[in-house]
Amino acid sequence: MSSAFSAVYARDLRLALRRRVEALLPVVFFIVAVSLFPLGVGPEPQTLRQIAAGVVWVSALLASMLSVTSLYTGDYADGSLEQMVLSGHSGFEIAAAKAAAHWSITGAPLVLAAPLIGLLLDMSASALGTLVISLLLGTPILSLLGGLGAALTLGLRSAGVLLILLILPLAIPTLIFGAGAVGAVDAGQSAAGHFSLLGALLILTALTAPLATSFALHIALE
């Protein structure tokens, strides 16, 4: 693994570890958001089980989008982003490292928190297992897409809301296949098709999003 990737990745992790509370806010949001649904829809276990996969997935999506706004803002503010991008290192690597760091800090905890959340919504064991795998495949995609959104909206006034508006439509296929996997298992079918599609989406996004993000960073810094 190249030095630029590991340097940026390690730096982001170190910075996040220094602010552990801030780093965990997205997970807290995730739990709160999911808990709102029973309060809004009613505590009937049957209903909750039906909407559970969708609720968890949408909440994970929103938690991911909300936390990704700050991906580049800190470095942008103190000038280190400019140093990184103009240093001659591959913009692709920097963007990929940033997305990987975001996933490690936000996405992975969401995946770990999911089983707990699933129990709140009375999901079956098989559904829970499928949910965790779907999130494992899907949250990296969200981090990659979020990174692109963050780069496009860098330094803008309403960057947070704007980012969500830009990226959510792009994240819809991931949502459909992720939540759909659980739906398939609930209906007694295999989720293999959904997982393959998620996997393909992950590969495609991993190959293209950092490139687009790199362009967006150069454009924002010009």
């Binding site: 909206t153 439509p169 819809i172 454009i219």
Partner: protein
């Protein structure tokens, strides 16, 4: 005189502005004539449908609007890419001018789709694959408009818009595929809303005529908006000053 065609001549805002002034009257005339022809055939010649009665006549604006919404997005992405690649600001202005019209057609596709769905399916909204995809397309348009309007620096806005539009174009097939997948999983074997099993010749003709009418309309209105954007961006240019004084002379 064997001069090669200067493709980039209309990249100059002043020449583009003049070209539009020459073309637009014709475009409006074509749009009006084709629309009248389409409506004539659609309402006075095409027969009543056996299954859907007369409600199917919404198809003469629903399908053209949906087609335009997709074509205009491709055009928007294309011109944004050209503007980015060749540093041609008129191309980027054209992309910005296309977005609101594209969004409008998307809205019209959704509105007419809804008004068609209510008598046919009983509800004002159906989450069928095509309408849902149109809704997502509307979000993509709004996202583009929001992004370029939020960026004060025009050049940065042009380029960021180009990146977003191109990412959108790549994603549209993926989104459409995933929505169709989602739709068949949840609805099973329901007939798609926009499936017209047997289109009489007259129905097809009316629909095609209206599509071309919409196309001419779109050219005209997008060009007008592009003129406005050119005036704004080039406000201190000589040609703009000349336009102003000429306007005053004519008054």
């Amino acid at each position: 005189m064997n001069q090669p065609i200067r493709w980039f001549t209309f990249a100059a805002p002043s020449r583009f502005y003049a070209l539009v002034n020459a073309l637009n009257p014709w475009l409006w005339a074509i749009a009006l004539l084709l629309a009248i022809a389409a409506l004539y055939i659609g309402f006075l010649v095409a027969p009543t449908d056996a299954t859907q009665g007369d409600s199917y006549r919404i198809i003469f604006i629903h399908v053209p609007a949906a087609w335009m919404s997709m074509v205009l997005y491709l055009a928007m992405a294309f011109w944004a890419a050209i503007g980015w690649m060749f540093n041609a600001r008129m191309a980027s202005m054209l992309a910005r001018a296309l977005a609101p019209t594209g969004a409008l057609f998307t809205f019209l596709a959704l509105w007419t789709g809804s008004f068609w769905g209510k008598p046919t399916w009983g509800t004002w909204w159906v989450w069928d694959a095509r309408l849902t995809s149109e809704l997502i397309l509307l979000f993509l348009y709004l996202g583009f408009i929001a992004l370029v309007s939020s960026i004060d620096d025009m050049v940065r806005g042009d380029k960021a818009g180009a990146v977003l539009a191109l990412v959108g174009v790549i994603n549209i097939p993926i989104i459409y595929f995933s929505v169709r997948w989602w739709n068949t999983l949840h609805q099973g074997a329901t007939i798609s809303m926009t499936a017209a099993p047997k289109m009489a010749q007259t129905m097809l003709l009316a629909m095609l005529l209206m599509t071309f009418a919409f196309w001419a309309y779109a050219f005209a209105v997008v060009f007008t908006r592009a003129q406005a954007l050119a005036l704004e961006r080039e406000h201190d240019a000589e040609w703009v000053r000349a336009l102003r004084t000429k306007g005053k002379e004519l008054q």
